[in-house]
């Protein structure tokens, strides 16, 4: 299904988005690089391969809904949306600045294409369930995607929402869980153990798939399979590496919510640029 060429294109797109993230958060002087970089491949897959959407008509009524319940990783969403054509890439550098629609956490008020304001953990999934319920009521065929963090699901509200999603057989809902095993105070396994996690979701009557969150072919396959489910909501547990692509950030929870200093940013961008050159080289070879 996913040919080498398409996969390489997605990798290039993701690399560009990762560079955007580093630049944005560095310019802002604050923000959350860990989860943003870790979820870049997923958001790239969504915006450049899966979502039914129209960047020129962001509020097109038939669009798929994407709810970022883990709102703190919004830099990756802003970057993906800019690259998808929602708004000019130059605007990314206004992240977290006074007067910018690119608020520190998603704001429906300042940026309607965000679908809903989020950031206080646990709330987005309830809103997503409400939207999926509304789609059923209105006999609409769009899907609702909800991205969540593994620390986020410490919140009891998430499990209330899951119960309701299963009760109403919301097969139009796909939860994508960022299983990166970090949160603010440390490793998720230590802050609040979640395992056996897949079994928990299964017990809540979800269809459960586990993927490598950096493998486009696995991501796309799972996202597609969710659409075939007839009677259950789906959760895709995406194993990701927080800080992915920037070696010194990878798997270190300290980078959950710290901005790199300019020299650290340079090191990160150098590494990403090197990778980009390799990918572009591959692209040339594949084109032949």
């Amino acid at each position: 299904m996913l040919n080498k060429q398409k996969e390489n294109q997605l990798k290039i797109q993701a690399n560009i988005i990762r560079q955007d993230i580093i630049k944005m958060i560095t310019a802002a002087g604050s923000g959350h690089p860990g989860g943003s970089l870790g979820m870049t491949d997923i958001l790239t897959a969504l915006y450049f391969g899966v979502l039914k959407h129209n960047p020129k008509k962001p509020l097109w009524p038939e669009r798929d809904r994407l709810i970022l319940s883990n709102g703190h990783i919004v830099p990756v969403r802003y970057a993906a949306m800019a690259r998808a054509g929602y708004f000019p890439v130059q605007r990314l550098k206004t992240l977290r600045k006074f007067g910018s629609p690119l608020q520190g956490h998603p704001s429906l008020h300042d940026f309607p294409a965000m679908e809903c304001s989020s950031g206080p953990l646990g709330q987005g999934i309830s809103v997503a369930v409400g939207m999926a319920l509304a789609a059923k009521l209105n006999k609409k065929s769009y899907r609702v995607y909800c991205l969540m963090g593994d620390g986020e699901i410490n919140e009891g509200q998430c499990w209330e929402a899951y119960l309701l999603a299963a009760k109403y057989k919301l097969n139009n809902l796909t939860v994508i869980l960022d299983r990166n095993n970090i949160q603010i105070d440390g490793r998720s396994d230590e802050v609040m153990p979640l395992n056996p996690l897949a079994a928990k979701y299964r017990a809540f009557n979800f269809k459960v798939m586990t993927v490598n969150g950096h493998n486009f072919s696995e991501i796309l396959k799972a996202l597609q399979a969710a659409g075939w489910e007839r009677s259950k909501p789906t959760v895709i547990i995406a194993r990701t590496i927080p800080g992915k692509g920037v070696t010194y950030m990878e798997n270190d929870y300290q980078w959950h919510g710290n901005a790199p200093k300019p020299e650290q940013a340079k090191e990160a961008l150098d590494q990403l640029n090197k990778e980009l050159l390799t990918l572009q080289h591959v692209a040339k070879k594949l084109a032949k």
């Binding site: 809903c116 989020s118 646990g122 309830s126 809103v127 409400g130 319920l133 209330e160």
Partner: protein
């Protein structure tokens, strides 16, 4: 605005404001197919069973999960529905305040938060279930309007009105049956206080079923030669500044009456207006920074300072300060 025989408490029918809500919801839903309602395992208590029976596809039982209910309500509203979410006020908005603040308030979602069994008048359930802070916690949320109807009929009208008006609302309801004293003809306009009678010596401003107690107090005061104005401030936010200032100018003294904490509720809202536009003495008939307990509403009103005797003392105090 009042029924003809309003002075005769015994002759008036009694109905809880939550019952008026149930009727209003059903009526509104018949008019507007876009209305949906959610309840957190208190469908009977909220008088929503008629709605549920009439519109099973538009009713969602969310279980005992008030936080989730607020978010699901927001999601439905952001998808175009007019949404009612309901439970006891102690939990909705007591338990889910932050969800209401963000998912509903910040999103400016068209969700009506229905909190029933508010105030000491819950009675026997005791302090845990007596929401005495909800007016305060709801009125501080931007975009949120706050309504506290005085009787069942007004609750029905208020429900129809908020169903028609886009945006977040909090509707405060009570469990106990209280006199039906407003007239069927009385217009309910969001944000417009009702001057039930004009005053000369002072004005009683009340909200919820205690409006009737304010009226009763005005009768007793009339026997002493005191002419007390009575205002039904059913909309606590947006507040009817004009009506309050006019009453303050005309009578020079205000007593506010509410089944709620003195801090942050109706009295505070009125004081905010007076202090800025027409500072006159004000006294607060309200719960004074304490929790309630089990008992009959009348017993509790007596102990916690909300009954006729306390209204009377407050009037005496405020007149001395004039």
């Amino acid at each position: 605005m009042l029924r003809k025989n309003w002075q005769n408490r015994e002759k008036l029918q009694a109905q809880a404001t939550r019952q008026g809500f149930g009727e209003g919801l059903l009526a509104a839903a018949k008019l507007d197919p876009n209305i949906v309602a959610l309840c957190a395992d208190l469908t009977g208590s909220l008088n929503m069973t008629d709605f549920q029976a009439a519109f099973p596809d538009r009713f969602f039982q969310v279980g005992v999960a008030e936080q989730n209910m607020a978010g699901v309500g927001a999601g439905l509203a952001l998808s175009g529905k007019t949404v009612f979410i309901s439970s006891f006020a102690a939990f909705n908005p007591g338990r889910n305040w932050e969800q209401i603040r963000v998912s509903i308030g910040y999103n400016n979602a068209n969700v009506k938060v229905i909190g029933s069994h508010a105030g000491l008048s819950v009675g026997e359930d005791g302090a845990t279930h007596q929401a005495l802070e909800d007016l305060a916690t709801m009125r501080v949320i931007p975009n949120m309007s706050v309504i506290s109807p005085a009787d069942g009929l007004e609750a029905k009208k208020a429900t129809l009105a908020i169903a028609r008006k886009k945006g977040p609302f909090y509707l405060r309801l009570c469990r106990a049956k209280t006199p039906l004293f407003t007239s069927p003809e009385a217009k309910f306009v969001i944000g417009q206080a009702q001057v039930l009678q004009p005053g000369r010596d002072l004005t009683l401003i009340a909200t919820g079923p205690l409006v009737y107690e304010a009226l009763a107090a005005s009768l007793a005061l009339a026997k002493l030669g005191l002419k007390a104005g009575v205002i039904n401030l059913h909309t606590v936010k947006p507040i009817d500044q004009q009506a309050i200032v006019k009453a303050a100018k005309a009578t020079g003294a205000i007593v506010t009456i509410e089944d709620h904490q003195a801090y942050g509720g109706l009295g505070s809202a009125v004081a905010e207006v007076l202090v800025k536009h027409c500072p006159v003495p004000q006294e607060f008939v309200a719960v004074k920074d304490t929790f309630g307990e089990s008992g009959q509403p009348a017993e509790l009103f007596h102990k916690y300072g909300l009954d006729a005797k306390h209204i009377f003392t407050a009037v005496k105090r405020v007149l001395k300060r004039k």
